[in-house]
Symmetry: C2
């Protein structure tokens, strides 16, 4: 089963609030991730389809970019330092995060939630499971549109996204890969403007 086998090229697809999706891309295909309502963070992972142990790695990307955040023209690389995605367009102010782990059940427990809470980490595993794939570890995600202001002394905070409705980012596959997007369900800190929303994407 392939979660995006039924998607037509260029078709606008809804990713419901709090949910994740795995998208298989051939080398050269571009995915546009649209922040439909403007303030939604999208946790993003990419895995080499031929070897899921090779994955997009923020700690390797930063050493390559010599910056904490990516910009248009940057290549995103794997834990084997090979290009996996290219950031080809960004109509948002370019504020994305590479520093923070995906939310997970332990995060919500520590924030005082009792019982189940959706999480990006769970969305990763569920999205991959839906196309018959399993990964054991969770790479540090590229958190699209996530606003983590950084002081020169190294302090960071969680703030509302600065993106606006309809702004988008485009990522081009540099190898055959599995992309996972999670519309972050965080509703306790400000990262999604306190209200998780749908986003949309299209594959071109």
């Amino acid at each position: 089963m392939n979660a995006n086998s039924a998607i037509q090229p260029g078709e606008l697809v809804r990713l419901p609030a709090r949910r994740g999706v795995a998208i298989t891309l051939e080398r050269g295909q571009v995915v546009r991730v649209i922040n439909t309502y403007g303030k939604q963070v999208v946790d993003t992972w990419a895995f080499n389809r031929a070897d899921l142990h090779e994955a997009m790695s923020m700690e390797h990307c930063r050493a390559s970019w010599l910056r904490v955040n990516p910009r248009v023209g940057d290549t995103l690389i794997t834990n084997r330092r090979r290009p996996i995605l290219a950031l080809v367009e960004d109509t948002s102010p370019g504020v994305h995060d590479t520093l923070i782990a995906a939310c997970d059940p332990s995060r919500y427990q520590q924030l005082g939630v009792s019982g189940h809470h959706d999480s990006c980490n769970e969305n990763l595993f569920l999205a991959l499971d839906a196309i018959g794939l399993v990964v054991e570890e969770t790479p540090s995600p590229l958190n699209l549109f996530m606003n983590v202001p950084l002081s020169r002394d190294g302090r960071i905070e969680f703030a509302e996204p600065v993106s606006e409705p309809g702004q988008y980012i485009e990522l081009r596959a540099e190898m055959a890969l599995v992309l996972v997007l999670s519309a972050c369900p965080q509703d306790i800190t400000a990262v999604n403007g306190m209200k998780p929303m749908d986003v949309h994407y299209k594959v071109m």
Copy 2:
């Protein structure tokens, strides 16, 4: 085989330049890592001894500290957000790195090295192998004494450590764990002052 079974409490042990070591610690034990010659980076990992899939995670630590770098009094947490180490003393200026991946064969290849070059990533696997352990993935390391100056606009650079000979950091085990130290063999960028050197450690 246990690499540190023969080490006496408080004994000063040499970690040769360019090499790594795995040290098993019981909860409450403290390891002192001494920058003997002042400018040596030590890549550091910690794994839950009962489950090597649980490891110290920089991306989880940053979300907990709300800072990019740790300070005395901080707890270092795992990918399950549980305390694994505590930073209990630091006589250096406190400049350490959490942003950059361990050096590895692909890093040196991209820096123009032909043939073999020692690397922290290889040191991790060799050190664990010496005590009969295997991990499949390399967590983003805590790079002790590594100086990666950060501009407010997110630019980073690789600079010489600001630590001085004999300065040290002490880490206390918050669970039974395997600590891996690698005296970084990087001699192409400035991170070790261009000259990889021995460091020393003691377990208390």
